[in-house]
Amino acid sequence: MSLLFDISLFQLTMLMMAPLIIACLGETIIERSGILNVGIEGVVTLGSVTGFLLTYYSGSAIIGCMVAALSGSVLTLLLAYFSVTLRANQIVIGLGIFVLGLGISPTIYRLAVGVVQSIPQVPTLKEIHIPLLGSIPFIGEIFFAQNGLVYLSYFLVAAVSFFLFKTPLGLRLRACGENPRAADTVGIDVARMRYGACAVGGLFLGVAGAYLPLVISGSFTDNIVNGRGWLALMLVIFGRWVPVWSFVGALLFAYVDAFQFKVNALPQFAKIIPPQFLLMLPYVFAMIVLVQVARGAESPRALTRPYDREARD
């Protein structure tokens, strides 16, 4: 039982869930407006490097997070420009953004840091124990003894859910993703909504990137994102474009991931299970679950389709 229900296992789950869900929420907002951002990995990587460098030079993680968010937003707005204004193919532009983000990030790092024998580091964010809630046995230690960005992820799940499904603006955004022509006929500026979704979603992606150096490693490396952006993209589908379900998906994936690391570290398992198999486990799990979930999933109907007011359907 302790192998599956260990406090440290759940704490690690929460730690690794946060960047996934923050990125996933950003992508959900963007996709709900009708734009598919397959460049998410590149945007998250850019957020990672800018967040790290600004934290390092300013000494403030808040400034680092803000600049990371801003950089994520700028890169995603580039996608919006090509997708909305120029009506280019979103997959092609998204892949371009992905490559651009992956290429520009180490370049920025090298320009700022140079070739050194000791790489710069920032102090990682400390855990904040929430009074009363943090004292609840088991639950408190898992959910309420985390760093600030994990709490931010809880808040964002609730806030984005509320925004999308309980506010007029959320309804308008969803209308742009479902039927932009209908939205246009009732006076919604589809282009502006899509630009706005990219700007706000990009902020989330940038913060998700900054999370990795500011919470996990204290340093930036080229490989730091290592496919986690793609995972967030997958979790959007897993959650069927509903933030709460994506949150469940992020929790499940992070749990299986933390579990395999725990099993990998146990000598009795190391002898019989090859490490490669264990490393593969979370991804196999994700694939199996995704195949099951994706069967009935319906994406926003206008996803990937550029909207042209004057075009005939």
Partner: protein, 333 residues
């Protein structure tokens, strides 16, 4: 008539001169060596690739020859890059990493006028124009097994590696032997995170190990080490870690117990000196004292430091011969 012959002679001389300059004849090549090194990752990593970059700088300084380097070269791209160097007149090509061994063995017979330097885990039979730098990682990690055995309070020691390379498997085996010989009660666990440079995965692995009671972690990950260090910092229990390639003690002075400095300059100097003296091929063992040094011992007792240094000297002198088992991890019983 005379003008015609003069013109013919002039053209013949010009053609001969052009051919002589274009052909990379042995005499010309020997006079102007050019050295290039191919690196698998970015030079700003302050770790493995930085060490390769240092080699290029050192060769330029020590031997006063033109040098160049190419970074982030995957094994699939390495042949193209090497061929480009060769066609640009580079006469010595170094390959920084065991992943290029097969490529060197393939290219060397095709370019007999070029000298190749490869880094490997064994004393291979290589073509005549290849220098083999044989890295004895398994020997170098032995003293860390002694250090871990003496420093652990919980008797739980771990090794975190990225990819299950033969060098790492062999090193885990020797650490296991040293640990058993020093502290029979101590238990060794190990884990491969699947990536040498992913600090997030390394952090997750280290967190899981620390939660299982481990208080001494021997690092065999490159940039992943920063994740391990963060896990040690966050632990409620005192956790010590070691690192390799470059000294990273300043990142967490209270958590580093030792560093295995791996410096590729000394073996490359030996190879380059041999090449410039006229030996197109050769063998350089890279072992404790030649490229491998244990430094920055700290946060452990004076006794632990003393016995680790003794183990280092004994391995170096050949008085302790660590077991070489590269195929699989077989921990000491």
């Amino acid at each position: 008539m005379k003008t015609k012959w003069t013109r013919r002679l002039f053209f013949a001389a010009a053609a001969f001169a052009a051919l002589a300059l274009a052909a990379p004849g042995p005499v010309l090549a020997a006079k102007a060596h050019k050295f290039a090194i191919i690196l698998p990752g970015p030079i700003e990593d302050a770790d493995y690739n930085f060490r390769g970059y240092e080699v290029a700088q050192d060769v330029k300084k020590m031997f006063k020859i033109e040098t160049s380097y190419s970074e982030r070269i995957s094994p699939a791209d390495a042949e193209r890059v090497a061929r480009e160097y060769i066609s640009s007149g580079f006469t010595i090509i170094g390959f920084h990493g065991g992943q290029y061994v097969r490529l060197v063995q393939k290219l060397a017979p095709k370019f007999p006028e070029v000298t190749f330097i490869m880094e490997s885990s064994a004393k291979f039979k290589v073509p005549k124009n290849v220098w083999n730098i044989h890295r004895h990682y398994f020997q170098a990690f032995y003293p860390f097994g002694v250090l871990a055995g003496l420093a652990t309070k919980t008797n739980k020691v771990s090794v975190i590696a990225g990819i299950p390379l033969p060098d790492f498997k062999a090193s885990i085996n020797t650490i296991s032997d040293a640990l058993k010989a020093t502290n029979p009660k101590a238990e060794l666990t190990y884990s491969f995170t699947g990536n040498q440079n992913d600090p997030v995965k390394a952090r997750q692995t280290a967190d899981a190990m620390i939660a299982g009671g481990v208080d001494f972690i021997i690092n065999m990950v490159n940039l992943g080490v920063y994740g391990v260090v963060e896990a040690a910092k966050k632990s409620k229990r005192k956790v010590l870690v070691t690192t390799f390639y470059t000294d990273k003690t300043d990142k967490a002075p209270e958590h580093f117990a030792g560093t295995l400095i791996i410096d590729f300059r000394p073996p490359y100097r030996k190879a380059l000196a041999g090449i410039l003296k006229g030996s197109p091929g050769g063998y350089v063992p890279m072992q404790l004292g030649v490229g491998f040094e244990i430094t920055s011992l700290g946060n452990v007792s004076a006794e632990a430091m003393k016995r680790t240094k003794e183990a280092y000297e004994k391995v170096r002198a050949g008085k302790i011969k660590p077991r070489l088992e590269m195929k699989k991890v077989m921990l000491a019983k």
